[in-house]
């Protein structure tokens, strides 16, 4: 008897197979041997290796067609660079510059792109958190940049520094989150001139993971560089010797790179740091309504900048990003985690491998609250990152409303999915050695026993299966008795506990003082201009 055959119609033999839901001694014994640390029992820090062959919707002709389209855009249409320094550099490189329009030949582009490394490292202030970007590694980062915040108590409200700090604590707490991307929520209660100073200060004190600088003007970039150097105790030489941080830029699609984004990238690559170039090509709005067209435009926009950076600093670490999705046909609103989004991500993965570049994608959704829709959209987005062979997953935890809301409960829910993805990659699950195929265990149990108490089970029980921290696997009655709490409400309780019990990572007192002094000094100098 299984859950599949109807109840109340059959006798004893069919009942046997119906699994009981509580009180198996094997389960209890197994659990007792596990050690819970902190609020939840989570998976250890790791750099997961994606073991799956990518899903490749394009055949070789399709890859060539998108490549040819991207090259024609670069050669015939050109990309606008609003940044004068970039225009001069393109001129030096022999590209055709007309006003702000730059056209570049495919041979030059491919030569430049060929100089980019297929893999590189990013080393934060805690070298144990060093990341490898490229190859089969897939890394997950926190939500970045929503102007608003939502939790079950506040509803949707503008972001604050306090919320930003809470989300940074979650970023640090979860081992499945590898880097602290942009501001997890925009703290609009801090003046824009000094916001980068306060948030980077919080970020460097509350986390020891890789951080980034927004390319929003030279002062902000330089300030973050200085703070990263201080936090890492690095000389300029040590800082430049290997990537310690990165910036992520978006083109202003269609076909445009703005002044501060290119400026920030140039500053960073010249000092040995990494850049991610991520066009935001929403099919039907800022890009063609066809996914191949949106991807081709995205590729062209990204490669134009990456080619420039390789011209300036051959071999500098660059990541090609994708943020290609579609609009909702009813409202014109951006949609995320859609079938078209998944395919665009997979196609971009094929193109990234064609160009030999590490790739960035996202965990994203359009839903306004952490409900079923939020979950299927985010799940689709995260799995398409896996399927595409993505190396860096931005916004992997905490994003709602198309990136306009950051949510700590959603952050916790997404980490449950991300942990499952990381567990999914463990080769042990699909091992097929004699002890895995386990004919002897089957023979020993025979047709009338069960496997709970067998040595083969007992020896493997504690690590055989993924242990969720948020999924509630009790039966309905036990779950109901315990309050009948739905997932989002459980996640709400968990994030509050994590934040309340949070202990920041260790930091040398002298370095902490240096950081504070730097922030105080730069604030007294007025911070960064807000009129760029």
């Amino acid at each position: 008897m299984t859950a599949e055959t109807p109840a109340n119609t059959s006798g004893v033999p069919s009942r046997e197979g119906q699994p009981r839901r509580r009180g198996r001694s094997g389960g209890r014994a197994g659990n007792a041997r596990r050690v819970a640390t902190g609020v939840i029992e989570q998976m250890p820090w790791r750099l997961p290796e994606n073991t799956d062959r990518p899903t490749e919707p394009l055949d070789e002709g399709g890859v060539q067609a998108i490549h040819a389209g991207a090259m024609r855009i670069l050669e015939e249409v050109g990309i606008e660079f609003l940044n004068d320094e970039a225009l001069a550099l393109f001129r030096d490189a022999g590209c055709t510059v007309s006003g702000t329009n730059v056209r570049m030949g495919r041979d030059w582009v491919m030569e430049m792109v060929g100089k980019a490394p297929s893999s590189f490292t990013l080393t934060p202030r805690n070298p144990d958190r060093t990341l490898t970007v490229g190859g089969r590694t897939i890394l997950f980062g926190n939500v970045s940049s929503p102007p608003n915040y939502w939790d079950a108590e506040t509803g949707k409200v503008p972001g604050t520094r306090s919320q930003c700090r809470d989300l940074l604590k979650l970023t640090q707490y979860f081992n499945c989150i590898h880097f602290a991307g942009g501001y997890p929520v925009e703290p609009v209660d801090i003046h824009a001139s000094v916001r980068h100073l306060d948030v980077l200060h919080d970020k460097l004190m509350l986390t020891d993971k890789v951080v980034h600088a927004y390319s929003l003007g030279p002062e902000r970039v330089e300030d973050v560089v200085e703070m990263v150097k201080i936090a890492g105790g690095l000389s300029e030489e040590a800082f430049q010797a290997t990537p310690r941080m990165y910036t992520n830029i978006n083109s202003t699609s269609p076909l445009k790179h703005d002044i501060p984004m290119i400026d920030g990238c140039l500053r960073l690559i010249r000092r040995g740091q990494a850049v991610f170039v991520t066009p935001f090509t929403l099919a039907g709005a800022m890009a063609p309504v066809t996914m191949a067209g949106a991807v081709a435009q995205s590729i062209a926009e990204a490669l134009s900048a990456i080619a420039l950076f390789q011209w300036v600093r051959p071999g500098c670490p660059c990541v090609i990003g994708t943020f290609t999705s579609n609009v909702d046909m009813k409202s014109g609103a951006p949609a995320f985690g859609t079938p078209e989004y998944m395919r665009a991500t997979q196609m971009t993965g094929q193109m990234a491998r064609f160009y030999g570049l590490p790739m960035r994608a996202s965990g994203s959704c359009a839903a306004n609250v952490p409900d079923g829709q939020a979950t299927w959209e985010t799940s689709n987005a995260l799995w398409s990152a896996v399927q595409s062979g993505t190396n860096i997953v931005y916004h992997a935890a905490g994003w709602l409303e198309g990136g306009l809301i950051a949510s700590p409960a959603k952050f916790v829910m997404d980490c449950e999915i991300i942990q499952q993805i990381q567990r999914y990659f463990e080769p042990g699950i699909v091992a097929t050695g004699p002890e895995d195929v386990a004919v002897e265990a089957v023979a020993a149990v025979g047709p009338n026993g069960h496997f709970f108490g067998t040595p083969h089970t007992q020896e493997r029980y504690t690590t055989a299966f993924y242990q969720p921290f948020l999924s509630d696997l009790r039966n309905y009655e036990a779950w109901d008795l315990a309050g009948g709490t739905w997932t989002a409400a459980r996640a709400h309780e968990i994030w509050k506990k994590i934040v309340n019990e949070f202990e920041p990572p260790a930091m040398d007192v002298a370095i902490a003082e240096q950081l504070s002094d730097f922030v105080a000094r730069r604030k007294s100098e007025g911070g960064a201009p807000t009129d760029f």
Copy 2:
């Protein structure tokens, strides 16, 4: 400016890219050209073709190791067949029968399995709903057999005929649901002796899709056969000429097939109908704690029955099913949609292709209510069906609490995911012809325009993107003003509307009378025994 860069820090150029969320004329015009039919606008009926290369965690050695393990189980351990007729047949075939234990040589098993077709059709009373089972086709069915029902108004309650009818209406209504599997909820308010008569009557009146018989005693199977013949207006000869229905059996794991399940299969294959054999091998409980072991045992249990059926009726249509998951280490409860479940499904897919058999998997979850957990578990299960090359997805819509609850709101939510999967397969999304790569459209719009109003967009707008019926893509404020309804609550409203406005498919009056007469007669005869 995109959702990724921080708000309130930048000026005009960065703002451009921020998508507006409402009032695009393209969106409105596009939508106006779409015709809503019924409660929601849904995708048309289709037999989706899975265009993805399967995800294959096993290398050739891994496939051979699981195969060898399954063969050793069949040769050295044997499978219990409690059915005397089956034992006699195995004896005739030269297998080693000791009491109820049957051991069979791999050569014979492989010879028999080799006779099974890799693809076949199932033709219901409406031939427009004929299914192809096998090849690249992937079909989705309703939840089957939960003894309980849950909706937001009732909470968890024992199933009734009225609820069963509601779920059958959803089964018929949704074009993405291809077959009416088992009872979508067990109507425990009908006596078990006549339950099959009432539910099959309801099923044949309310749906025109493929139906099945539970193998729970000869009378029930024969009654369903008669009713399927009546509903289809079929002679016995026409019935036997091509599969019109099927049964799905579960082995009583470990290593056992019970009396009525084998009896039902033998009855049906002898009359040309299809059988699905789906062991329920919960790793760590009814199967080894290792996934390869659980899969090997599942394969052995399934092949033992399929070999028997091929011996009796060479070439009869058989499907190999998988229901391999793991237990929760905390409670011993079954878990579904886990990383281990996904991998087991993918591994079984490799084995099904190795044996040349169509495959069945499931959409399943452990969650008790249609929340985030339910969604990620179901989403994982459904996508693993896609990744494994599954042909038939049981329980694809409406399942909760490990199959102990059927839920109409969950049904609607799952159909949203299934529609997205079906859309995902459409080759148009990844087409790369010149009009798809769309360099001319990119050139025409240039760096300062947008694509909403262009001819390239307008010509494709109505069909360019998947149109969800349940996802709410409005911004937070518009969603909030409209009630701020979460996904499960929206799904609740939708299922009630569908059920209230439901119109059953056409049926000939004379056939309807024959069906009613048959049910009345069989009831007057006492129905089926309940003491088998």
